[in-house]
């Protein structure tokens, strides 16, 4: 991202796609408040003002291929201080959405692909999921005050359906126990679905709205199927 681009060399027809974007990027007065407040300014020469200007100038390819939209955490400090009301975090998510899906960095798109196919980011089969849930529930039942504890799976007509963050059935199974202990003490009538239990929605990070709709729709389907009115979504 260190090449100098001369403004007169920019072909204005390049701007067409970004022209239609609804993030008010062309209102930028280059005041630099966003860059001052941004926690990632300076890393890899990134700063949000540069990114907003590049979008206004139509430098699409450079941005889509760069690491900038991915080292930003879309925390929206920049938006908070922007005097022109530019939706900078949403704009960055928009740039992420233009990246070829097989070039999305890290495990984000791989996890999302697994989720589309299997219902969860890990591709964890249903039997293994049920085994882990029951195993952790048995551990809680051995604790004083939690005798007889069970984790109800697919309980029709329960009061509350909860999703599960994939890391809690992977490397962090101990972290399942806090909510479950609270449910037990509060005598909650709760349940967890055996399928499509994934609580994270990585389309939020990759800019994939279609995947987000599918993941959310599956949770709603589970609620309808199990006749449950309330969802707890701790992710």
């Amino acid at each position: 991202m260190s090449d100098v681009i001369k403004i007169n060399d920019i072909d204005s027809s390049d701007c067409q796609r970004f022209d239609k974007w609804p993030f008010s990027q062309d209102f930028c007065v280059t005041c630099g408040l966003c860059s001052s407040t941004c926690p990632v300014s300076g890393i890899d020469n990134f700063d949000p003002r540069k990114l907003v200007r590049m979008i206004s100038l139509g430098l699409e390819e450079q941005l889509v291929e760069s690491r900038w939209p991915w080292i930003c955490t879309m925390c929206a400090k920049c938006e908070k201080v922007c005097p022109m009301g530019i939706d900078i975090a949403s704009l960055i998510r928009g740039v992420r959405s233009l990246r070829d899906r097989d070039k999305v960095p890290g495990i984000l798109h791989k996890g999302l692909t697994a989720a589309m196919k299997t219902g969860n980011n890990l591709g964890l089969p249903q039997d293994d999921f049920v085994f882990i849930i029951e195993d952790v529930a048995e551990e809680i039942a051995e604790e004083p005050g939690f005798e007889g504890f069970t984790a109800p799976i697919d309980k029709k007509g329960a009061n509350l359906l909860t999703t599960i963050h994939n890391k809690l059935v992977n490397t962090h199974t101990e972290d399942l126990k806090y909510w479950w202990r609270i449910f037990h003490a509060a005598q909650e009538d709760w349940t967890v679905p055996s399928d499509n239990w994934e609580g994270t929605n990585w389309g939020l990070f990759t800019g994939d709205d279609e995947a987000m709709k599918i993941m959310t729709g599956r949770i709603v389907e589970n609620m309808e199927k199990l006749e449950i009115k309330t969802l707890l979504w701790p992710e």
């Binding site: 926690p39 990632v40 890393i43 890899d44 690491r67 991915w70 080292i71 930003c72 955490t73 879309m74 925390c75 929206a76 400090k77 938006e79 908070k80 975090a89 960095p105 890290g106 495990i107 984000l108 996890g111 004083p144 005050g145 509350l160 963050h165 890391k167 972290d175 126990k177 806090y178 909510w179 202990r181 609270i182 003490a185 509060a186 005598q187 994270t200 990585w202 939020l204 990070f205 990759t206 309330t230 969802l231 707890l232 979504w233 701790p234 992710e235």
Partner: protein, 148 residues
């Protein structure tokens, strides 16, 4: 429903009872996740700032806010999928500001209601050699303080 509304309901209805003495000797601080706070405020017109603080106050009196906080809170550096992109050096460098903010309060425990923040805070705690800093989910704090 949100984790906050449910916990508040349980506490207010007396379905769970909490013991404030358990962590009375551990100075704690609360971190606002961007998605429950600043971003929720923008997207849904309502950010959850008061609710988690009320819940934490039912668990301990010994807690403080980071500075800045609420709408001006600093991101932990783990947002936007940063824990999964592989850009770890950038993420750790980013988290250095969070560490400075935590150090300034003298907190020995950070309470947080977000899985991504929890993961990132544990990661930067190790990277910046803050072994004695405890990273706690808000609901873990509640579960720990329950009187059975």
């Amino acid at each position: 429903m949100t984790v906050f509304d449910l916990l508040i309901q349980y506490i207010k209805d007396g379905r769970i009872k909490l013991d404030k003495s358990k962590y009375a000797d551990v100075p704690a601080a609360y971190h606002d996740p961007c998605n429950y706070g600043r971003k929720a405020q923008k997207m849904f017109g309502y950010g959850y700032f008061e609710e988690p603080r009320w819940i934490l106050s039912q668990c301990t009196d010994n807690w403080t806010d980071l500075y800045p906080s609420t709408m001006n809170q600093l991101c932990c550096g783990g947002g936007g999928g940063a824990l999964t992109t592989g850009y770890n050096d950038e993420r750790i460098l980013y988290g250095g500001r969070k560490i400075d903010q935590i150090k300034a309060t003298g907190a020995q425990m950070i309470v947080v209601p977000c899985h991504s923040c929890h993961g990132q805070l544990n990661s930067i705690k190790a990277a910046y050699k803050m072994e004695n800093l405890e990273i706690k989910y808000l609901w873990e704090m509640v579960a720990d303080c329950m009187i059975l």
